[in-house]
Symmetry: C2
Subunit: 195 residues, 2 copies
DNA sequence: CTTAATACGAGACACCATGTCCAGTAAAGT
DNA sequence: ACTTTACTGGACATGGTGTCTCGTATTAAG
């Protein structure tokens, strides 16, 4: 859904924001499944055709919305203390999880039967957040906090996986204390696992 | 959706199985989202009302279907080697994941805005599989393979979380080798983290 | 064997979201 | 002014929803 021409009336940024904001409001209020294009259009005060012009489905709307939302919050400035950075990333992610959790789990469910959308979800959201952790772990490795032989790929999956599992299954409260618990446990395990 | 009376025609087990099997076939073919009650009824050769009589929604149908399916496969007989058992549980789960992954992720997404269904999903599926791992880890702890001080709750979440994250995000192939990789890594970490 | 109670398959029904199309209007460049 | 594209609003056929009703089937009780 690209637009290259410089001719004619340009795309309305207010309409774009209204759509994304309305989608976020509705998914919070009614849940992923209950969100409809029609509902978003009405909530945003926007013609339905305007949504169909720029997005193919509600999942594309919500993917763009969550990317916009996650960018500033869950991606803090790197400092010279990788452990601190890791903690901040996880804290930000957990803080975002009440909104992001329902959306991303809905997007993942949607992606299971749509390889194209899975690739898009992969490259635009999941892979970036993966890379964030991985790079921080690499810095920690260079700083000596994490053993040289640690398999960072697997550890990255463990960190995100543990977080996701808790967010999705919710057998325990999800808060910043949990973020610290995960950070500490992973680092303790890694520190003594320099193999 | 209970039925206690012993009067009148009893529930048809063939119809029940036909519904559950049809639901599994359809979710494989078309994905969770695309499955509809109407579709299940037609695929199963069953009246639509028969489904509504026993289940409230397609998610309850699929929950029952996946529970029936997972019971025999992903729950092997315990042996006297807890490490072997752990490996077998994960192998079974990964083997089941092409079918179970789309369904469970759909169920989780559905559950985010429905506390009652979340509780049901929790108690009937997630908690049981959690307990399976936890008990095996406890046996491993008694056998000395896992350090005494290890936080089994967190470790259980790490194991299921890592598995789920890989199944859902699919940035890497999901197979039995991956099950072994996860098992080995967790045990290596735990063995040296008796703290 | 009749009767009461319940389950079954099939279909009708009003409701709502989908995705497309069209009309009229708005905002940009030439 | 004219062209081009975006915007809101509404119409439209299609298909799923959840409820209801029909006639029939299967069980236990009398």
């Amino acid at each position: 859904m690209e637009q290259t021409s410089a001719l004619g009336r340009p795309r309305s940024e207010p309409a774009r924001r209204a759509v994304l904001d309305a989608a976020l409001r509705l998914v919070r209020r009614d849940g992923y499944q209950a969100v409809t294009i029609k509902g978003i259009a009405e909530e945003a005060g926007v013609g339905r055709q305007t949504i169909y012009r720029w997005w193919n489905s509600k999942r594309e709307v919500l993917l763009e919305a969550i990317i916009d939302l996650a960018r500033p919050i869950a991606q803090p400035e790197p400092t010279d203390d990788p452990v601190h950075d890791l903690r901040q990333i996880l804290r930000g992610s957990f803080r975002l999880s009440p909104v992001a959790g329902p959306i991303i789990s809905g997007l993942m469910a949607d992606a299971t039967n749509d390889p194209e959308f899975l690739a898009q979800l992969q490259s635009e959201l999941l892979a970036r957040r993966r890379a964030l952790i991985r790079e921080t772990l690499e810095r920690a490795q260079r700083a000596g906090t994490v053993g040289e032989g640690a398999e960072l790929n697997l550890v990255t999956d463990m960190i995100w996986g543990t977080m996701w599992y808790r967010v999705l299954s919710r057998h325990a409260p999800v808060n910043e204390a949990l973020a610290d618990e995960v950070t500490d446990a992973v680092l303790r395990l890694l520190g003594s696992a320099g193999k």
